[in-house]
Structures are given as C-alpha cells and as structure tokens.
Symmetry: C2
Subunit: 142 residues, 2 copies
DNA sequence: TTGCGTGCAAAGGTTTTGCATGGCA
DNA sequence: TGCCATGCAAAACCTTTGCACGCAA
C-alpha cells in the first residue's frame, strides 16, 4: 500500500470505517452517511477519491453489481492477498439482492482450469456469480 | 417469447439487427447508430424499451460490464436455452477489454457444484468472469 | 511556505420517464 | 376509433472533475 504524503482527518475516519466493516460490503454513500451529522463529516468526492486509490493499491475491492445501484466496496484488511484470492468468491442473488461470500476450495479449481486450459487469469476480486440463492429458491424471498 | 400486440417498423428493424448480430455483443447505442441516417431510424428510448422487454423474455441477455461503459446485449437466437446455459460463458479481459465467449463443459461443473453444495442456481446469462486473457498475458495488449 | 487534500458544484455518461403525437388493427 | 408504440427532452442516478480554499509538514 502506498503511503499518502499527508495524513488527514478524513483519511483516518475512512480507515477506521474500513476496519469496522472488514469483510462486509459498503457503498461510497454508506461511508459518507456514516459520518454525516457528526462534527466529523466527509465529502462524497473525497470518499470516492480515497476508495479509488485504495482499490488501485489492492487493499479494497470494488464490485460493479448493477449499473443502477452504486458500486460495492470491500476492505480486504490484513488477510494475505493470495489466501483471499483462493478462498473468496461472491454470489449475488438476483431475487433478494443478497451479496453472499463464498469460501470454497472447490471453486479454486475454476481458476486453475481457466488458467491451464484457456490461458485466462481469473480475477476473483471482481468476478461476481449471479443467480438465485437457496432461501429464495425455497420460496422465501424477503 | 411474448408477442407484442402491435407490429411496428421499429420492432422489425430491431429484430433484423438482432438476427444479424446473433452471437455477437452490442450496446443500445450500437443499435441506434446502425439505423441512423437511413430513412429508417429508431429513437434510443425505443431501443431501450424493446431490449428491456426482450431481456425479461429471456431472448436477449444483458451484461453489465462496467459502470461507466454502456451495458452489452446479446441475442441468444434459436439456440435452445438449456443448451446455451450449459455451454456458454463469458470472460472479460480487464486489460484489452475483449469480451470472450467460452464454450466449455468443464465449467458446467461449477453450476452443479454451486447447486448441490451451496443451493445456489447460477445464471450464466448474466455472470461474467473478469481477468486477463492469454494474449495480454503474453504481453500483447492491443 | 509549499503543495497536497478537501468540498462544493457542475459536468459526464447511460438509462429511464413524462407527455404529446403517430400508427397499427 | 381505441390503444399501444414512438420520440423528444428532461429527469434520474452514480461518479468524476474543476477550482478555490484549507490544512499538514
């Protein structure tokens, strides 16, 4: 992670939020709203600028779920990057909208298959599987 | 596929374009531009309205590639839907932007795995695998 | 003091929607 | 004639950008 030349109040706030939300998903608006009202607030533009930088540093992942909802971000935190890559996939339920984390070794096979047979290096940080989750299939849409 | 109550010139044009583009990807703007200038033109709103309907009918698939580029559509055509589901996946290269079709039985295993082990029904029509394609890895970015 | 960081507002691009008009049956 | 379809323009939405000001070092 590249260190910023300057340390600012907003940066500290954002990082504290990230730690708090580790492993969960949030949008840029979530971040802004979280600090709204308190004497410490952050402009939405600043949030986007920081998140963009953190994404390019590989510390935060950005998922484009749907063109009409805001992008989802996730803080990868202290997890070893390679480890996270192998174990961490996302499923998005098209019915209830849930974004599900899936840690499954089986799926690591997909990566090696795509790599060996098709010369394609999968990026699990950005790939989202769409479909219908178990709950919704049982007829329990929210 | 649900039949429209009325048959219109624009509808005919759109369908002819779809047949022409079967198996390829296009955006709403591509459709509009294709008929621009000719005495037969289609308004962008009409294009979106038709595509939206065709998507919900399952005849056309919509892929949200990136939040800042237009959505990609694809006409599934006469292919049996079940057959297409088994054989047809998409890879998106994050370097050169190529959208690659991948027909691979191996990947059908993903679906059954997700179904059996996680109760999740994958929708291959919407799922896109992100990563880096073989050409770009060999250092041949466009 | 230097120059990066911030916030506001405006711009940017795609997609949707309201409304009056046009065209199919 | 009765409605649906169309097209234009405006709206809606998220995200980026320009610019002046503020603040860290």
């Amino acid at each position: 992670m590249i260190k910023s030349p300057y340390k600012t109040r907003q940066q500290e706030l954002l990082l504290s939020y990230l730690r708090e939300m580790q492993g969960k998903h949030f949008t840029a608006e979530d971040v802004r709203a979280h600090f709204e009202g308190k004497q410490s607030s952050i402009g939405i533009a600043t949030v986007y600028r920081h998140l963009e930088k953190l994404v390019s540093d590989g510390v935060v992942t950005k998922y484009v779920i749907d063109e009409h909802s805001a992008a989802c971000y996730e803080y990868l935190g202290n997890v070893c990057k390679d480890e996270a890559q192998e174990q961490h996939f996302h499923l998005k339920c098209e019915m209830c909208g849930a974004l599900i984390h899936l840690a499954c070794d089986e799926l690591a096979l997909i990566r090696s298959h795509l790599q060996k047979e098709h010369g394609f290096t999968l990026n699990p940080f950005r790939t989202v599987f769409y479909g219908v989750c178990a709950a919704c299939q049982k007829g329990e849409p929210k």
